[in-house]
Symmetry: C2
Subunit: 179 residues, 2 copies
């Protein structure tokens, strides 16, 4: 069987000009107090690939334009809709008012596997927090749900950009199931 | 509902001492010609979290010990079993001889969505390639299958460590379904 790699034009990607009319998955990604711009840029790239509606950037997370973000976002920082609020609770309140279910990505009491979401749980706002401390307790309190990625190793965590990718693509899989 | 974060001891992680006896998921991750040690370290961390059997490192991919790998592997480089071979075809032949199905992660002719795998497809060796060029044609030719992560944005790719995380955790989900 031939596994010839496809050239960019064969992939039928959306052009940046047509992006505004393209339907997006009813998912938002919120980055709160992310320290590393490498991670911020990488999550922009993932958010573009996953075709989500929007990113919310809060706290001390850096925002574009920053060359350190561009380095891993590779242009996605100009394609993904994003908004900044310093106060995460204000961002959460706005998302809730728009009907989003706020799902922290963390390992906590009462957290559920990230694979439990079903189509009628959407729209979903996935919230990720600081690389070391995770999401603060006062922010977790305002989540509707906490989702965890089950882990089977000796360590206690995944890189935040990898974890966000795993959870976002699972949400996309659910949204598109039966489509 | 309380979403108190769990402390490390509450997570019941495997101790490094007990790791050798712990059952692993029948999955191998092969890194061929990965340029960035940040990505190599990050994939060690993901491989540990996903509880996979082994990593195969080939071509010019750097191997531990390297401080640049340690920085993102955060100790996982000492917990995940790994082996280096310069020739990727030799590594593929060894994995095939051990019964592994070789699945390239790439967008090609005849590639199938990464969500098609079923329990009887295992053991699976997931193969990822260079950040820019992807997996070379002569290596793709020796794959049993090419899996692609469907993408919905303006860009054509995901970061390789993020893509590996998405695909590995989907494989873990399938392996554990019904367990």
């Amino acid at each position: 069987m031939s596994f010839r790699k496809l050239e960019a034009p064969e992939m039928n990607r959306i052009s940046p000009e047509n992006l505004h009319d393209a339907p997006r998955h009813p998912i938002c990604l919120m980055l709160h107090n992310i320290r590393s711009m490498w991670n911020v840029g990488s999550m922009f790239r993932t958010a573009d690939a996953a075709g989500i509606e929007k990113m919310f950037i809060t706290g001390y997370t850096a925002t574009p334009p920053r060359k350190e973000i561009d380095k891993t976002a590779l242009g996605a920082q100009d394609c993904v809709r994003w908004e900044y609020r310093s106060d995460p609770l204000e961002a959460i309140a706005l998302m809730k008012a728009s009907g989003f279910r706020i799902c922290g990505l963390e390992i906590t009491e009462n957290s559920r596997p990230y694979t439990v979401m079903r189509k009628n749980d959407f729209p979903v706002c996935l919230l990720v927090g600081n690389e070391v401390q995770g999401i603060e307790d006062e922010v977790l309190m305002h989540c509707d749900e906490v989702l965890e990625i089950p882990q089977y190793g000796t360590k206690h965590s995944l890189n935040v950009a990898v974890a966000a990718g795993i959870a976002l693509f699972e949400l996309v899989r659910v949204v598109r199931s039966g489509m």
